[in-house]
């Protein structure tokens, strides 16, 4: 300290040498300690992700010894690279975030990133807030109560276009899950396996602007049933679907997991068609942020994307699924029985008709927000009369689905990313070409467009 420093200022130090925190003999030693601390944080996070149960970790370390364990894990996970990354990360503008989710398995990456440490690894302090329904998610995102949220993938399109709400731009940063829905029918309809017999029945869907609505309508129409005239579609929350199915108020539903499996588990329904059998790889839920977020907080947004993308990558691998189930099943998150979640996540399940089925990709996770999928959703919005008049499919898809951004970040993380933002998709055997949406729209016999 200089002789002119104020000795009554608590920030000045009277010792002639030492570091900025006053606990080390010099600045170099302080720095060493600081680096070690960051290293410890990274190691702890990695170990927590690998061993969600502390007992397993302790047993493992006891069995092989600390140094062997460290070496073994370093071969699996680039520990030193992660430490370096953690040490010189761009400062986060807003480390404390509120993220909403609806308790269904579609939200798996968003949820597990909390208890499994994917957010904290990026330096984010996230509170995950369970939300009662999709309309509330929409309102809380529009009110900026949530910084980011789990949404149904057509919701950002609908909100941005002002369908069912005031128009407010919302972006899709990543897709949460692909597949993972099903058509579940009441057990009394176990003889009506042919959908052509479904005239006059009542079906539950979770929201107007949901992939569930589009898939069910598509499926019915392909089977010659007009979803507006021949059947009744009712909007209800997934647990209400199971209860209404039991009471006989609806005959079936196309809903999210785990409620299809739950209906089977409760012995009230059977799984008729998995959504992967309608469109393999269809998007379901999305990770949405309001338009300003990515621009106002670029570093935070990047960190958030990394957390979600690496959680999605982790959830994609079948061998991780049982750990994930344990992380997301408690009351704080999904609040569901583990046997039901296990059948959903492993794809080894009872179908309600006495058969055990094995469909490993029944639920899958892939973060890339294909703009061609957005174009498809827009064609369906128009097909069923939600959206009227001329629309510029490409422009809307590119404004809302941040595919280019996602590709850049996925590449930076060393994760697979497709070369293009558009792809052809095959839905019930029919090819959809995103370059010709109007032509596709005109090809349907049953349509309101």
């Amino acid at each position: 300290m200089s002789a002119f420093d104020d000795p009554f200022d608590p920030k000045t130090k009277l010792a002639s040498q030492g570091c900025s925190c006053g606990r080390h003999s010099n600045q170099a030693e302080h720095q060493l300690d600081e680096d070690a601390r960051i290293g410890r944080v990274v190691e702890t996070t990695v170990m927590r992700a690998l061993f969600p149960h502390d007992e397993t970790r302790r047993n493992f370390i006891r069995a092989v010894g600390a140094s062997t364990a460290f070496a073994a894990i370093s071969t699996l996970f680039p520990m030193s690279a992660a430490k370096a990354l953690a040490a010189d990360r761009a400062p986060l503008e807003k480390p404390d975030l509120k993220i909403g989710f609806v308790p269904i398995t579609c939200a798996t990456p968003i949820i597990m990133a909390g208890p499994m440490g994917f957010y904290s690894r990026e330096g984010l302090n996230v509170s995950l807030l369970k939300t009662a329904g999709w309309a509330i998610v929409r309102d809380k995102v529009m009110n900026k109560e949530y910084d980011a949220s789990h949404m149904l993938s057509p919701m950002p399109l609908a909100i941005s276009l002002g369908l069912g709400s005031q128009a407010q731009p919302v972006d899709v940063a990543a897709i949460e899950n692909i597949n993972g829905q099903a058509i579940t029918m009441h057990i009394k309809h176990k003889d009506k396996l042919d959908p052509k017999q479904w005239k006059g029945l009542k079906f539950g869907i979770p929201f107007d602007y949901s992939i569930h609505n589009f898939l069910l309508r598509y499926f019915l129409a392909e089977n010659g049933i007009d979803p507006d005239k021949d059947v009744e579609l009712r909007i209800m929350a997934p647990p209400d679907m199971v209860a209404n199915l039991r009471a006989g108020n609806i005959d079936g539903f196309l809903g999210p997991e785990p409620f299809n499996q739950r209906a089977v588990y409760e012995e009230v329904g059977y799984i008729h068609t998995l959504s992967r059998d309608i469109w393999d790889g269809h998007p379901c839920c999305a990770f949405g942020v309001s338009e300003g977020f990515a621009k106002t907080y670029p570093n935070t947004f990047a960190a958030l994307f990394r957390a979600i993308a690496s959680a999605t990558e982790y959830a994609h691998k079948p061998e991780n699924r049982s750990d994930i189930i344990k992380a997301i099943a408690p009351a704080n998150y999904l609040n569901q029985p583990i046997p039901v979640l296990e059948q959903v996540m492993t794809g080894h399940f009872a179908d309600g008709l006495g058969k055990v089925r094995n469909v490993p990709d029944r639920v899958d996770f892939d973060p890339f927000p294909w703009q061609s999928m957005a174009v498809w959703m827009l064609t369906q919005l128009k097909r069923w009369g939600y959206l009227k008049g001329e629309i510029n499919y490409k422009q809307i898809a590119e404004e809302v689905f941040l595919a280019t951004d996602a590709r850049k970040r996925l590449k930076e993380m060393g994760l697979p990313a497709p070369a293009s933002n558009y792809s052809k998709h095959t839905i019930m055997g029919k090819e959809f070409d995103p370059a010709k949406p109007e032509q596709y729209l005109k090809s349907f016999k049953i349509s309101r467009a």
Binding site: S127, I136, N143, K144, P330, N332, Q336, P339
Partner: protein, 280 residues
Amino acid sequence: MAKSLTFRAYLLSVLIFGMVLLGWYLATLPQKTVATTQADAEYAALMGGGAVKKSGMPTPAEVGHTLREKLSDPFYDHGPNDKGIGIQLGYSLARVLAGFSLAALVAIPLGFLVGMSPIMHRALDPYIQLLKPISPLAWMPLALYTIKDSSASAIFVIFICSLWPMLINTAYGVAAVKRDWLNVAKTLEVSPLRKAFLVVLPAAAPTILTGMRISMGIAWLVIVAAEMLVGGTGIGYFVWNEWNNLSLTNVIFAVLMIGVVGMMLDMAFGWLSRLVAYND
């Protein structure tokens, strides 16, 4: 005689409780499962294989177990979506008290105005009659849209539903103060403010408190529904969360707790109204 009447009433209460429990117990006896033709053990295991499923109508013993378990640790906090029943009830009570107090601040002065001035009564009556029958929850979408905050919206809904009974009762109580008392005040040339506080308020207090008691009852009814709608925290959210899990045991537990707290609130207002009661 009176003592034995009370005793017999208690006895009857206990008897009714026993009958209800017995009926409940008999209704939820495990039914003989139809001999499953599923020889497939694997399938049976996936279907839960005899494991107790929480979703069916629970037995009294199960609810009793839940009651003991949840009440033994009412204030735990396992993150934003999993809090003990005590904390949830605390959130709900805080919202109810906030909305109710705001309503009292508006309704009681306004009720005085309406009760004391015939012209204000005629002018405001159409609005009161129009707004009074609107279900509080019908305000929820409007509140969410304009206030842009779900917690404040819940408080607003409590405010709007507590307003009318307090306003109408205050106005009625103030208007019904005996002419003689007002005439005496006039003769003594008491200032209007003193008249309001020393003559009208004590005379109208029992009616005002009746209005407050009705309002509190409605507010406690409405908060559960409001919280089920917006979620987050509170006893209504707890019910929704357990419904989402299709766990009727926990829903029944929550229903019991809502009843107990509602009863306690009503008793508190009953006690308050005895404090201000008077004999002519």
